[in-house]
Amino acid sequence: MFNDNNDIFILLRNSSIERKIMVGISKKLFEEWKELAQRELKGKDLENHYWITPEEIKVKPLYTKEDLKDLANQLENLPGLEPFMRGPRATMYTNKPWTIRQYAGFSTAEDSNEFYKKCLENGQTGLSVAFDLATHRGYDSDHPRVSGDVGKAGVAIDSVEDMKILFNQIPLDKMSVSMTMNGAVLPVLAGYIVAAEEQGVPQKLLSGTIQNDILKEFMVRNTYIYPPKESMRIVSDIISFTSKNMPLYNSISISGYHMQEAGSTLTQELAYTLADGIEYVRAALEAGLEIDEFAPRLSFFFCTGMNFFMEVAKLRAARFIWANLMKQFNPKDPRSLSLRTHCQTSGVSLTSQDPHNNIIRTAYEALAAVLGGTQSLHTNAFDEALALPSKLSSRIARNTQLILSEETGVKEVIDPLAGSYYVESLTNQVIEKTLSLIEEVEEMGGMTVAVSKGFTKIKIEESAAKRQARVDKNEEVIVGVNKYVNKNLNEEIDLLVVDNKKVISEQIQKLNKIKKERDNNAVNTSIEKLRNGAKNKGNLLELSIEAIRSRATVGEISKALEDVFSRHKAVSQSITGVYGSAFSEDTLFNEAQNKVKNFAKKEGRQPRILVAKLGQDGHDRGAKIIATAFADIGFDVDIGPLFATPEETSKQAIENDVHVVGISSQAAGHKTLVPELIKSLTENGGEKIIVVVGGIVPPGDIEDLKKAGVSAIFGPGTPITNSANQVIDILLKKNLLS
């Protein structure tokens, strides 16, 4: 015994000998471990113990030095140096912690401003503005198509006067402001610039980020206005303007966030985002810019979900791949190679069941983002699966980051997971998978082509349907949803309630006031100049700034551009079979299928459901999953166009003679729009058509919706097999009664 120990000490002191012998020992030891493990598994095969992730990465139960054998390229990196895998800065958080940037917007500019000021007092270090859907889609608050959306999912901005209120007493020369805006990006960015100007802050001092990532809108989020080609021109006009006039400003935030939220795998998120990035680089080069003029101001935005180590690996891989991809453009400035990113914890991982669990989920996700080396972070509020965040939940979300930053010590070491057998090996696998996905897109001719063909959208929808099937089959555990369900839970949570009618009337008052006081001739002139610039080659941001100065509204500017560019219409594709093929003997799935057969026999046709979205809410992941799953169960599924009014949806339901209308709501418009739908159905002879609602429905709305005539409401995380069974039960019951 003693001798053995002594030998080891000698070995440890002599590192060159150590290396030689350790490898030998390790192989022998590994066999020993394997045998032992095999025994503990009681005959089960060790191979079956591997975890195959949705990315199709095989995760082994144990990683060793062997796994790092071929990764010299990856292991010999340092932070701040090319390829920046270990971080874009040499000192990272040891010098300056990540920016705590909470995304928020409350109905009106006044409320939001008050909230921002309070957050800044309480330790938040950057602003991030959430706009309402009407603003996103370029409509003023008085437009008839947006009555359900104004002030719901964020702040309503109609003119520079609203913008000035929004940033009242916030020094825009010091505060970095991030704005999530892609559709109406021109009037909103122009509004921010002019608001600053009237505060006395010149353009060159403005720092912050505009999302301005239109390609992913066509893939997942759908808050676009113009067709892809014209939208890409707007992107490059903005890049070109800001690179000349706003050196501290990030002209684009290339976002994967919404892809993961829509159900993509982590490698899809990474690959399609980086491929988007390359496409923007090409667009800017084509517009005549030099690579080093704008590449250092490109920034990224990723989602951080519950797959902890994979998320860390994803951020490391992102920086590694971006640096290597950017080399093809021969930049001279090393900053052109470095990927800087914002992260937000995953919204789709939040559950409406047992919502306090979301605090814990968000904390783990935040830790992963920080270990991955993010530059700024948003942590979600725990009630976001139920409603927009309340004051309390926003405070907890912010404090999650403050505690992580101030109490845990994670800031003190750069890239602390580097060298871990598992994390390094995983990083390498993520790099490999991602590269092959990027190659696939590049072979098609790049992201603009892939997006207009709907290729990436379908790929993401496939992944989403597969994930839903895994959850519905309990293969993927979500605590409180499909395991450890707390049936007696009856907690009251104070949720934010938005009185949208009040917001509309306030906004209309402000709009009327500005239209009365401004010089309408000046507005007409500047709008006409903008229209001409759109037809020819004027810089659209520059012209929008002029229009905003003359007090043209967000809606007027968007409309002028729409006259020239037209409004884009989505091409909706759908898949069948993906969800259903995951089930073979699942009882609930079969039960639903049998009920459908039964119904079809009695009724003479399959049950028919119209899956629709109302208002300007473009998040169609839920609707798409429901459509494909219900079709696989045996429903005839009609898909309604995005951005429909209640009357249009009612017309379609009646023409198609459906049994059910299923409304998918992610952005709080349902409270106004669903009762209007039911009214329209009744007025047009469709009173027998039942209406169900799924998505984010605050508990307080449930009673109102039921009173309005909604037959069933399904919260986030409801297994589709459950909702399908319920819908068919309601139909069968009605069928027996009539």
Binding site: K569, A570, V571, S572, Q573, S574, T576, G577, G580, Q593, V596, K597, A600, E603, G604, R605, Q606, A627, T628, F630, A631, D632, I633, G634, F635, D636, V637, D638, I639, G640, P641, L642, E648, K651, Q652, I654, E655, N656, D657, N684, G685, G686, S738
Partner: protein, 338 residues
């Protein structure tokens, strides 16, 4: 016709046949859509009921232009109909679009996403769009669509577009219920001529090369030329009408006027030769024969005794004791004896 079913329950649920036919004639959308549902139903009482309504309004049918539109998946049919239909609505027409969707999964369900691509048209009060699942049988499509077409005519729609997806047997069926058959094709790929069955090209009165925009424009024009020389070899389907080939961009709203003027020219020619009604009468004759075949088929296969007999003969055929043709002769003879 003898009434085999008790229709009183159905009349209670849907209204009397008299009422329903009146409402159809007055253009009530809800009634139109429900009657189409009934004619699509697999329940015989539903079918009978809807036929009764249809027979009542039959004299008021026949006044529309019946346009068939077909083409392989992804060619942009829906986008074309959106643009073309909106153009016609702006001209003051009332349009009905009947879209047959084949995307049926194993479970019998299907996804009908057509209207998402006809956003503007579907919002118009002068347009009625009805996507229908193809269901299990091809014959079904034919009957449903014919009846739906007639119901729409009775409801006052003056232009009916029947859209079929894919390239196959259903096109032949559809060409038997419409006046002008438009085939949509698109550039990209290269081997278009092989991709579309010759038989379908022969059915077409007008071939449109869609997506003649952006990078694909010159390719679209090349394909149009190729088709133009190919269709010269075809025999005119009706007197003096040679299949025409044009390019268009439904996306950029280009070429639509020309397509409409060709369609008008086509109908004018029909009128001059005064053979539109003869053409339609011929279609009704074909319909009758089709229905007879299908009815017989259905009755033979739903007869239990005959099914047992088929099983017995099948075995004999398999061991080579009887020829299939001889077996079929015996089986049918047996069925007729019953």
């Amino acid at each position: 016709m003898k009434n085999f079913f008790s229709l009183s329950n159905l009349e209670k649920e849907y209204g009397s046949i008299r009422d329903l036919s009146k409402k159809i004639l007055s253009g009530d959308i809800r009634t139109l859509s429900r009657c189409i549902t009934l004619s699509e139903s697999s329940r015989e009482d539903h079918q009978f009921f809807s036929r009764s309504v249809l027979e009542k309004v039959l004299p008021m049918t026949g006044k529309s232009l019946r346009i068939g539109i077909s083409g392989p998946p992804g060619v942009g049919k829906s986008t074309f109909i959106e643009t073309f239909g909106t153009f016609l609505v702006d001209k003051g027409k009332k349009i009905a679009v009947l879209a047959v969707d084949p995307s049926s999964s194993k479970s019998g369900g299907s996804i009908l996403g057509d209207k998402t691509r006809m956003e503007r048209l579907s919002q118009s009060d002068s347009a009625f769009i009805r996507p229908s699942p193809a269901g299990e049988t091809l014959g079904g499509v034919s009957r449903h669509t014919r009846e739906a077409l007639l119901l729409c005519e009775a409801s006052g729609y003056d232009t009916i577009i029947v859209e079929t997806v894919g390239v196959g047997q259903s096109e032949a069926t559809v060409s038997n219920m419409i006046d002008i058959f438009i085939l949509l094709i698109s550039p990209g790929g290269g081997d278009e001529l092989q991709g579309i069955k010759r038989g379908i090209v022969e059915l077409a009165d007008l071939i449109i090369v869609n997506k003649a925009d952006g990078l694909l424009r010159s390719e679209a024009e090349n394909i149009a030329r190729e088709y133009n020389s190919a269709v010269k070899l075809l025999r005119p389907k009706i007197n003096k009408w040679n299949t025409r080939v044009v390019t268009c961009s439904a996306l950029e709203n280009k070429g639509i006027e020309e397509i409409w003027s060709i369609t008008e020219e086509f109908f004018k020619k029909f009128d001059q030769e005064s053979d539109l009604s003869a053409h339609r009468k011929e279609q009704f004759q074909k319909w009758l024969r089709e229905e007879i075949t299908q009815n017989l088929n259905k009755q033979i296969y739903s007869d239990k005794k005959i099914n047992d007999l088929i099983t017995i003969y099948e075995k004999k055929v398999l061991i080579g004791e009887v020829l299939p043709s001889a077996a079929a002769y015996e089986i049918v003879k047996n069925f007729l004896k019953k």
